[in-house]
Amino acid sequence: MSLILRGTMSCACPPCHQELKLWNSFIEKGHKPGQSCLCTSKISHTGTSSILPQFEYLKTKIPKERWGEIKVTLITPSWYHLRYIDGKAFPKDIYADDEAYFADVAKAYRVELDLLYAGGVRNVQFDDPNLACECSASLKSYMQPLTCVRFLFREDVGWLEDFNIQHKDSR
């Protein structure tokens, strides 16, 4: 469900805990953080949806009259930066501030959503495991909830009435 964004690098194991904020749930229990994605250059969409083929496959298994209900999940845009300490999610020599970074991530997501809509997707869900942190006082202090998502849904972005987009906690 994660977008393959130009300008990012996916790594199975983040290099070290110094790259990450001190998530209590990771550190206390000795868990290793899972697959992560770091910004290595200016972020943009590749122009091709890596998610649309999965929707196309589902169409072969579901009656045509229900294709509009097929749900496609996308990782929340904040996933790409929220767990990292300042300067690690997006190097300062690439993006000077949060707003510039958020703007490019949001732009890439809008390209993806446009491609999905053009491909017939009508039901999208942003999975946001980070919303579960709202339940913890200690983790909540690390949160900038929905900041990047707010960029995605700025007032000047018009959405189609038959395109259902939801934002949920996946826990």
Binding site: M1, K61, I70, K71, T73, N123, W159, N164, I165
Partner: protein, 99 residues
């Protein structure tokens, strides 16, 4: 795992009634259609065969072309299960991604 949206005011029996997110400032139409109010969320439990194949792929023991038919078979099964259970919003359970 089933979950519901606390901000919804109508059940899935009235899909024409809109869901308006409370936390996101946007111009979404009040007539936005949703398949249903309560639905399972993104990731579903993977069958053991899929987990094994995914691990093997991540360890470069098998290629993507060998993983795909196993993914497809697992997706076929979970789609059928969702249809048999009467789910409205069918997904592939995110079976093509790491859990």
């Amino acid at each position: 795992m089933l979950s519901s949206f606390s901000s919804l005011s109508q059940s899935c029996l009235f899909p024409h009634i809109s869901y308006r997110p409370q936390s996101l400032p946007h111009k979404m139409s009040t007539q936005t259609r949703i398949p249903c109010r309560a639905e399972h969320l993104g990731s579903l439990l993977r069958p053991k065969q899929l987990l094994s194949a995914r691990s093997a792929f991540e360890e470069n023991k098998i290629k993507a072309a060998e993983l795909k038919p196993i993914e497809d078979a697992a997706v076929d099964e979970i789609v059928k299960l969702q249809l048999d259970c009467g789910f409205r919003a069918i997904s592939d359970g995110e079976y093509r991604y790491l859990q």
